[in-house]
Symmetry: C2
Amino acid sequence: MNLQNRTVLVTGGGGFMGSHLCEALLHSGANVRVIDNFASGRPDNLADIIERLELVKGSVADEKKVQLACRGVDAVVHTAFPMAMRERSLDTDVMVDYLAGLFNLLKETIANNALFVYISSIAVYGNQQYVPVDENHPLEPVMLHGAMKLAGECLCRTLAHSHGLKAVILRAADIYGPKNTRVCVPVRYLINALAGQPLRVFGSGRQSRTYTYVDDFVQAVLGVLVTPEAVGKVFNIAGEQVVSMYELAELVKEVTGSNSSIVLEENVASDDRRLEIDGSLARQALQLTQPVSMREGLTKTRDWLLQVPGFYQEG
Amino acid sequence: MNLQNRTVLVTGGGGFMGSHLCEALLHSGANVRVIDNFASGRPDNLADIIERLELVKGSVADEKKVQLACRGVDAVVHTAFPMAMRERSLDTDVMVDYLAGLFNLLKETIANNALFVYISSIAVYGNQQYVPVDENHPLEPVMLHGAMKLAGECLCRTLAHSHGLKAVILRAADIYGPKNTRVCVPVRYLINALAGQPLRVFGSGRQSRTYTYVDDFVQAVLGVLVTPEAVGKVFNIAGEQVVSMYELAELVKEVTGSNSSIVLEENVASDDRRLEIDGSLARQALQLTQPVSMREGLTKTRDWLLQVPGFYQEG
């Protein structure tokens, strides 16, 4: 798929991943359409490009809006996900809205004979049983949002069999960067370091993650859109660098030049998990360039934070 | 769990599997509660026992009704399933109702610290990759209802991790017997044979199934309810006898004494699949008796059909 004049719908286009993706798609010559209810996405995230894209305001759970948004599309990238699903509380409406939205999108993708790019998550793996976690790792999610992502994967695979859906599943590792909706740990540390506040590391500080800079995620999605062989496949999307929470705190201090202290705090909920994700399959199959280093990603995120001091309004 | 004075909620209690289960539970001394919207279930199925059970008329998608139905229960057996999900058309409302219902039930089961018995299906396996299909077979459903059953299994497992849900998953093979809602092949052949009509066998007639008499299904559910070690486990529920469509037609002729002809008909949709399901794990773990033979099950179903000539109003 050449992206010149191709029409791509980005669900949750006003969100963190979605808005970065819209910028890159426009840059590649695609026609970009967005559907977003701005529950967690922000119109401001699209401020620079709003005049160059088509915006459908509304929820993907609204079948009529989805039909409108999908008319004539070549591809749908489903990044929308309800933040409330990450909470421990069990809200039927949130769960239902998510699945209804996914189902509506799948139906319209099939009706338009388009490509569906499903943004799943490494949360589908649950507790890692070996490292690094590749795409063949058992799927045993331990949190609701992982279960819902997995239910969505299952729907994609089945409709590929039963209704000829063309789908690619991307399991995103922890993505960070400018416009992060959730204040994930790298962003939290940057904010604290820039404010001269202590960086709080829970537990031993040895627990680690494969943090992935948002540009690498975007590059992977674009790779999928121009790689017909990707259809029907599942890929982890992850950086190459695994970093412990303690190393991350030290790196943030370096990048910000802060003299914040690093404080180890006991926390029963933390553990020494080494969440090392193997993203090599996607890098090879989608011909991706070398992932952004943690130092570079943190530097770019720092620069953005300095430009938008009020983005996270918190105490 | 001793069933004397235990309270068990049966969703879809007015349906085929549900109504048989209610009878057996009452016989075992349990207090039985039913929730059913009678979309495909029939009040008549409960006629003989209606005064001995508590009935909540309504859909499990109605959270208030589910709260009412689950108050003080010791176990919930979720047999309700929308017939419309078996069709090829993709209806968002049907899908949403099923998952909302499941989610409501899971929440209330957790709130009541009860046991959840999830009636799944061998449809979660998709095309068999080896025979007999045991519980470790890959999960790659090829039809929507299999995908939804699998999504439900996934929710059960995850909520066991995250919220302490006690759940048992039963993957039912093709169940047949009196009160069958769907006119499955054994029932279809019995009806035709009793009417002296030809028994139509599609394709080669070599395709086979592990048909399972409804009493064996009921016995397995009761086994789960009295076997604490079953919590967290997954079991196939299937008879021991694999029968080809041609053999089934011959057996039906014997059982009915009919002189109907057996007609082989070409059908592009049929295949030579040998859907052999391994139900031995459940038989061992739940200490089940020898499954009902195909001959005996067909005989009992024949006797019932002769008693209720108007049950299936068809041309």
